[in-house]
């Protein structure tokens, strides 16, 4: 039973992750008064891209090819560690939150390196911005996860999230609330959503993430798109697993609650993207540092039970 449920945690992510993208796009379209693409559109895009061949610039090296592969591989590896709310992931060990953050970092590193490898000034600019923001967002993510671990007094993410139930929420509401706020900021930043980055923008000068992958095509682009969808799912699990403290003994019920929560999160993101403008680039660090500060407050409040 436990084995099946823990295998289903990454499996659900593999299957449903592109759906999150579709939900966000659908919400945005509806608010803008459009019909919007069908919910299976991301799957169709992926299938189309996988059927195409990739074009490589002659100036690029193996690093350029390694970027998409590694970023997808790290997302897949992280999928094995991150729990789906109360349902434990197949892999868990003490301090695995460091491994998760490290995997994200590795994926980002290779994406950045691949972008620099093209020699395009636009991609270099995007890489520079990505790294700047990453340097600020990583401490925030660490502090947030560390606060959860410190509050629940559990070593691994799976056990810590397993301990986040309604009773803990009523006992440590400030800490968990602040951590949730931080994770929302991290979610928006890491997934390059508004108000940090606009995934639908068409002007290279204003892009961050999209500009780094301009030169990828075909299968590589499919890997990147799928990896991005997985990241949306992964960080969503970290946030929703905290905010939806449904911890019955039944893993099916718990898992379903979190997946429903993820759908809700996608709608919230769609709502944010529809109602907010993107921040000016030089104001973004303030947002990220602000998110980190919330985590710092959470950490301090968590230390004073």
């Amino acid at each position: 039973m436990a084995l099946i449920s823990s295998i289903l945690v990454p499996a659900s992510g593999l299957v449903l992750a592109p759906l999150l993208v579709a939900v966000i796009n659908r919400v945005k379209a509806r608010i803008a008064g459009r019909q919007g693409p069908p919910l299976v559109q991301p799957y169709r895009d992926l299938a189309k891209l996988l059927g195409k061949g990739a074009v490589y610039s002659t100036t690029t090296t193996w690093l350029f090819r390694a970027g998409p592969v590694v970023s997808l591989a790290t997302a897949l590896a992280a999928l094995l560690i991150v729990p789906l709310g109360g349902v434990a992931a197949p892999v868990h060990f003490t301090g695995d939150l460091v491994a998760v953050a490290g995997l994200f970092g590795l994926g980002r590193f290779l994406t950045v390196v691949a972008a620099l490898d093209t020699g395009s000034p636009f991609e270099g600019m995007g890489a520079s911005r990505e790294v700047t923001f990453a340097a600020l967002v990583e401490p925030a993510l660490f502090l947030a996860l560390a606060s959860i671990v410190a509050t629940t007094r559990m070593g691994s993410l799976s056990s810590a999230y397993g301990a986040v139930d309604a009773a803990l929420w009523s006992a440590a509401a400030p800490t968990l609330g602040l951590v949730a706020a931080t994770l929302l900021v991290v979610y928006l930043v890491e997934n390059s959503r508004i108000p940090v980055d606009d995934p639908t923008t068409h002007l290279e000068l204003t892009m961050i993430h999209e500009v780094m992958v301009l030169d990828h095509s075909g299968v590589d682009l499919a890997f990147i798109e799928y990896g991005a969808a997985l990241k949306l799912w992964l960080l969503g699990m970290l946030l929703v697993g905290l905010v939806v403290p449904v911890r019955t003994a039944n893993p099916w019920l718990d898992g379903a609650a979190v997946i429903a929560g993820l759908a809700g999160l996608a709608m919230v993101v769609g709502l944010i993207e529809s109602t907010m403008a993107r921040l000016r680039m030089n104001n973004v660090p303030a947002l990220i540092v602000g998110g980190g500060v919330l985590a710092a407050v959470a950490f301090v409040v968590g230390l004073n039970p």
């Binding site: 009523s170 006992a171 509401a173 400030p174 800490t175 609330g177 602040l178 660090p285 303030a286 540092v289 602000g290 980190g292 500060v293 919330l294 710092a296 407050v297 959470a298 301090v300 409040v301 230390l303 004073n304 039970p305």
Partner: protein, 213 residues
């Protein structure tokens, strides 16, 4: 520990950071007032029973910190300056990061000091110390005179919280006197800023540098 109090304290910690990160004077005044209003509710929440004395004090503090102070300052800001920006000496992000360091310092201090009397908790002390330090940081790193008054009031907020947490049984006359003094202080500071701006069109503190040595 009282859950409501805990939520309130966490909220006010966040307010401190918002104060450090806000770019608008008007916003800072509002946040300062909301923090003050939160703190004036603390005696109602922390005490076991609500005596008339506590009720009177909380009402007075709420009226002052949540109503009169921000009203005075907003009016002052409107009259004195065409600029709404805070204009710090150190950037907002730097302020926030310094704030995190100060929070760490306050937490250390809050855990070190052990009050002999009951009715306190570490979270409250940490919050009070952090609010005081935030006030000092605002006073020392903001260029606009109005912001220095805001910083002073944040400092007062912190001290008020500390007082509520440590000596719940201080005589009422003294506490009301303290509130009144804070009121007069804001009033007097407002007049000073007003005079400065009207007669010399200066509300930047770094322009006040003719007296040296």
């Amino acid at each position: 520990m009282n859950h409501l109090l805990e939520i309130l304290l966490a909220l006010s910690l966040v307010f401190n950071f918002v104060l450090l990160g806000s770019t608008r004077i008007g916003a800072c005044v509002i946040w300062m007032a909301m923090q003050g209003a939160l703190y004036s509710l603390v005696p109602l929440i922390a005490g076991e029973e609500i005596t008339p004395r506590i009720l009177v004090l909380a009402t007075a503090a709420l009226a002052m910190k949540g109503g009169i102070f921000p009203w005075l300052l907003i009016r002052l800001r409107r009259r004195t300056s065409f600029h709404f920006e805070v204009e710090p000496y150190i950037g907002f992000i730097a302020s926030l990061l310094v704030g995190v360091c100060l929070l760490a310092a306050a937490a250390t201090l809050g855990q070190r000091i052990h009050l002999t009397a009951g009715g306190y908790n570490e979270g409250l002390l940490t919050t009070a110390f952090f609010t005081i330090l935030t006030g000092l940081l605002l006073i020392t790193t903001r260029r606009k005179a109005v912001m220095q008054v805001v910083g002073y009031l944040v400092l007062e907020n912190g001290i008020y919280l500390f007082g509520v947490g440590t000596v719940v049984e201080a005589p009422m006359l003294v506490e009301l006197g303290v509130l009144l003094d804070a009121f007069v202080a804001v009033f007097v500071m407002s007049i000073a800023v007003y005079n400065l701006s009207r007669k010399f069109e200066v509300t930047d503190v770094d322009k006040l540098a003719e007296l040296k040595g």
